[in-house]
């Protein structure tokens, strides 16, 4: 089984947003939302020799995703190929996973009421196609492939050319999107787009720390009380009301 990864060459990216458009049209992403987007990261160099720097942000298909345990219904799951996917039939649109993602890669689709995110274009992969953003990038800044295949381009870029993950010492959950480019470019991107600590929504905390215990207690106490009454009934013997 392949293990998919993506390497984004920041130096090649000219910020044309073709990938954003391809993704939005492929997956009917509503206005104001995106599964992948190109964000301006600042300027590199000094006047008059400077260039715009960009940062391509999308779901990192992490190896230890913080979004999966946050989902109460199990609608978010991880494919054997590493892609983190959302089952729309199970999602109730609570947005707990949106808060849990350190990369802001998820959103609640207002048309459907359920969560949507990049899944490396899983349905396209099943048809043997590349993800839409990869296929469309005019600068070939996005490289996609099997990171477990030593002959693949992503393998070479990650293990030979030293592509980096966008992670910090605290938030390292194994992202599978890697970045290459000038060191100062990557540092500049990291200053603005470093992962933020996963948040657990208040309702989830109340559920796990309070509600579950309350229900166990109420049902358990009733059950025990009733079991006691039942054994008493057995030991005393049954007495019908009219006897």
């Amino acid at each position: 089984m392949a293990r998919y990864a993506m390497v984004i060459d920041q130096e090649r990216c000219v910020g044309c947003q073709s990938c954003t458009v391809a993704c939005k049209s492929e997956w009917d992403v509503p206005i104001g939302f995106a599964r992948t987007r190109v964000r301006p990261a600042g300027l590199l160099g000094t006047y008059p020799n400077f260039t715009s720097a960009f940062f391509v942000a999308q779901c990192n298909q992490c190896e230890r995703p913080s979004c999966i345990p946050a989902c109460p219904t199990g609608a978010t799951w991880q494919d054997a190929n590493g892609a983190v996917r959302v089952n729309r039939d199970l999602c109730i649109g609570c947005g707990s996973c949106v808060a849990a993602c350190p990369y802001g890669a998820r959103y609640v689709n207002p048309d459907r009421g359920v969560v949507d995110k990049c899944d490396f274009c899983a349905p396209r992969l099943e048809h043997g196609l590349e993800p839409a953003c990869v296929a469309t990038c005019p600068a070939k800044a996005k490289v996609f492939g099997d990171i477990e295949d030593p002959g693949s381009e992503v393998f070479r870029l990650v293990y030979r050319a030293g592509a980096k993950r966008m992670e910090t010492a605290d938030i390292a959950i194994g992202p599978n999107v890697y970045y290459t480019g000038k060191r100062e470019h990557l540092e500049m991107a990291a200053a603005s787009f470093a992962p933020t600590p996963p948040r657990t929504v208040a309702a989830a905390l109340v559920w796990t720390r309070l509600a579950k215990k309350l229900v166990y207690l109420a049902v358990g106490a009733t059950f025990l009380g009733q079991a006691g009454a039942f054994f008493r009934q057995l030991s005393v013997g049954e007495k019908q009301f009219d006897e």
Partner: protein
Amino acid sequence: MATNIIPASPYALTAGQAEALAQRQVKKHHVAIVLLHWFNAFVWLMELATGSAIVVSPSFAFMPHWYLVMMESIFGSRANLLRVHMAVGLTWIAVFIVYAVFGWRDYLHTEVLKKEIGLDADDFRWLRIRLLRLVGLTSEALPPQGAYNAGQKLYAVMVYAMVPLIMVTGLIMTFHLFSTSMVQWSMVLHFLAAGMVVSGLMIHVYMGAVFPEERPAFYSMITGMVNELYAFRHHYKWWREVKMQQADWEQTISAEEDRSHDTLETGNESKPEAGAANGAR
């Protein structure tokens, strides 16, 4: 009113009286309520079975893993579990809207609720004695009860508070209404409310199906009828009310009969009286 016919509190029955009461049936539940009850039982069975299997994330899940796997296998997939849960829940809401519309005056009007599920002093005494009797600490007689005993009333109060909450939060989650935080809190409230009802439901089922003294109450949910001896012993206040209504009704009928009898006999005499009245004016 025939208030003086039946004593306000239970009295000792002779063997003959008890025998006579045991032979007579009195109507407790309308057939629509009997059907609604068993529909409701089916809904709760399905919703609890499927609902508890939808929550699978380790930190949220409250059922053992084998149960989650078993239910998923039975229904084919978790998505099916959720579909069944939502379909049955929506049907439940639709049926209860019909119930609320047609049953408003008889079952849900404030006055009815106050009388049928509001607890009075007898009810609080009943609760205390019932609990003590259950553990064998007293053999004191239970105070007279209305159509529903204090235990049933307490359960009803909770159910009447929790069911609308379960329905509203269910709708919010099914149709992803309002905002994500509303859906998040709906999950918690849906779970808590259902949990509270379940803790009462266990007693409800035990009392109805297992507890020998309440056996006639169980059969009344099939036939709609209870025998009068049971009504006398367990729901004296209700039995007395039914009997007084019957007595009132019988009195009214016989009074009507007397009057029509009088009118027939004295029909001719009434005419001059009317004429005299007219003349006086």
